[in-house]
Symmetry: C2
């Protein structure tokens, strides 16, 4: 008998009907002889509504109480999922974060998992009960409700799978796997049978909203076998229904490039003629960090005079106004601060590129062939990202998808 | 410095705007130097929606999980109320049932309060914090969420007031006090300045939906000074804003009759020619009790033959079908079972009637003068109830209100 964790996202539990359909998938896993932990999101739209209430009261709300409010959506789904399982004669009960307890740190609204007590859950599973756990929520060491940040239910599921040493963790969502790129942009995008944790992390952080980045990090660290599946297809019985996220060495046919990601959440800030001396980067990025603003791509060129430099970096669009204010208050020595929100970040991701030359070359040539100007470049071992004008985003994705031969075999 | 409990019902916290207005009332109590515990209901409509979800999954749902689902509404309001108080610079935090802990028995969906730990709450109040408590919810000794039944937030508030030895418990609702009868039926109905616990209990149980009956019971038992106020009027500063519910001996001007109540939740069952022998009543009411069906008015007449009798009693309309089935299954020896749902129960309530003769006489005469037929009569020390045809309900209420001289003084 093996233990599995299955997680259903918001669209998979959008209403009572969908919850019942999700319950049927759980029933089949139970009938197949598995011990099952079910992790559920809030019904779609509920969390946004709850966040809206908090913002309506005050945009500067206390995060302790924010967590009390927004964690309630998953509690509702957990109770309903248990009720739906009972209808099939399956013993099931909900386990709220504080009942497990699912301990997190005190960083309310984006808490990190610290310690999951498995004793009660394992006893329940041993008795043949399905354990239904509301995702997204935990409890701090001070006994207050915490939440793991938007998309945190993925992290709940993977952390539970790690703590319970589950055989695998199935993430049911509204897409049926991970694609070589967004199928809405490139209809010929191909579903990947396997993808490495590293690639999945890059894709997740680049806006392919299949899994929360942190959940992939935890899965990689603890070796949790992760599977992305559609909750709207009948996956049981088919050979390879979704996409398996696995260790790099388990990928059979390694591909040069696994996917093309497109992120539209970027905004660009350029500091013109910043003094080119030690400590400048720190003067810029320390106050941004203290304000909790994440900086993504950073490029710096030496200008001809040798005394000043232009520095460009990106922040998320939601942070742009605040970032500009922080920079103004920090009185950075520079001629001018420019910003633009109409940019898109296009990335080519693949573990194969570590050992292959020419991947970047092919990217730049392909974009140039369509007259697309590259504003900023940043690279990692398994990723090349460029910033381009947003209007060209779809064209760039289609061009690159074709340049790397990622189309579905005819 | 005195401690008070204030409770806001669903219509008083129907949306964020109303929550903010309710918070302002709390702020004024704090500024007036009180330690304040705020008890909140779910935003109006929310509990019905959650109950609807549970029924949609299954009408025979497990009550443990039902409680998990339906308790979430108050949690949301509690968090939002705390946030609204913060905006005024008031320190406040939410205390969920399991955090207090507010212990109840295991009768899920209609649990009874067992033990309220006051240590944490008193510490928070001593620090100058407002404690915001979601009504309706508690936690069992098994650490599962329980709820106190519909309208249970009143009971939460009064039980907290009793445990914390509060100076008073203010119930803010959408009416501004207790009236001599329903003002929608009799426009001249008069607001009572004071009412005794006993009268309030009779009125509450008779369908004057101002307070949950159990909350009045607890208030009487523990001597909690209870006040019913409108959350939509600015009560602070006015002399006697709502209705005070007090011990009988504290009522200054005792009135013969305090109010006329009208209940439409009744259905009548008559057993024709039941055998008139010992054990018959038990044979009828034991199976009903076992099925959880409350029987209200009971009358039994001896028939002329001395061997059989007609027995009439009322149950709530929602239980009628089930009650008929139980009686059929119990194979009661009788000629026929008849039932009717088109009945209304009209009651005259007043502690004064204990020491005055003629109150019942006046009721019967007044009804007869309008040609209203009395089907069943039942009396207690402070109440006379009659069952009449539902069509005559309003006429009966108006007639009695006038007969006892309850109109507002011109």
């Amino acid at each position: 008998m093996s233990l599995i964790v299955v997680k259903f996202g918001g669209t998979s539990v959008a209403d009572v009907d969908k919850i019942e359909r999700a319950a049927e998938k759980v029933v089949r896993e139970v009938r197949a002889g598995h011990q099952v932990v079910v992790v559920v999101s809030a019904m779609s739209g509920v969390t946004n509504q709850l966040v809206g209430y908090c913002n309506e009261v005050s945009t500067m709300h206390d995060l302790y109480e924010y967590d009390v409010v927004v964690s309630s959506g998953e509690q509702v789904t957990a109770g309903l999922m248990a009720l739906a399982l009972h209808k099939h004669g399956i013993a099931a009960r909900s386990w709220l974060g504080w009942q497990i307890p699912f301990k997190t740190d005190e960083m309310h609204s984006k808490a990190r998992v610290r310690d999951i007590e498995t004793k009660h859950l394992l006893e329940a599973l041993e008795k043949g009960e399905v354990a239904v756990v509301p995702g997204f929520q935990g409890v701090t060491f001070n006994n207050r409700i915490s939440t793991l940040g938007r998309g945190g239910s993925d992290t709940s599921a993977v952390a539970l799978a790690a703590a319970l040493k589950a055989e695998r963790c199935d993430i049911y969502t509204d897409v049926d796997g991970v694609y070589t790129t967004d199928p809405r942009i490139v209809p010929g995008a191909r579903k990947l049978k396997t993808i490495s944790f590293e690639e999945m992390m890059e894709l997740a952080s680049l806006g392919a909203k299949v899994l929360q980045t942190r959940s992939v990090e935890i899965a990689m660290k603890h070796g949790v076998a992760l599977q992305v599946l559609s909750s709207f297809e009948d996956a049981i019985g088919s050979d390879m229904p979704g996409t398996l996220v696995v260790r790099e060495d388990k990928i059979m046919e390694e591909e040069l490039v696994s996917g093309i990601a497109c992120g539209r959440d970027e905004a660009k800030i350029t500091l013109l003629r910043v003094a080119d001396k030690p400590g400048v980067a720190s003067a810029v990025f320390t106050p941004l960090g203290e304000a909790g603003i994440n900086v993504d791509m950073i490029v710096q060129n030496i200008t001809s005079d040798g005394q000043s430099t232009d520095m460009t970096f990106t922040v998320s669009r939601a942070d742009l106004e605040r970032a500009l204010k922080v920079l103004k208050d920090a009185k950075i020595e520079c001629d001018e601060i420019r910003s633009a929100a109409n940019v898109a970040k296009i990335s080519v991701v693949g573990v194969g590129m570590k050992s292959h030359a020419g991947v970047a070359q092919k990217m730049f040539t392909a974009l140039a062939s369509k007259g697309i100007n590259i504003q900023v470049i940043s690279t990692s071992e398994i990723k090349i990202s460029v910033l381009i004008e947003e209007d060209y985003a779809e064209l760039a994705v289609r061009t690159l998808h074709s340049a790397y031969g990622l189309e579905e075999a005819a």
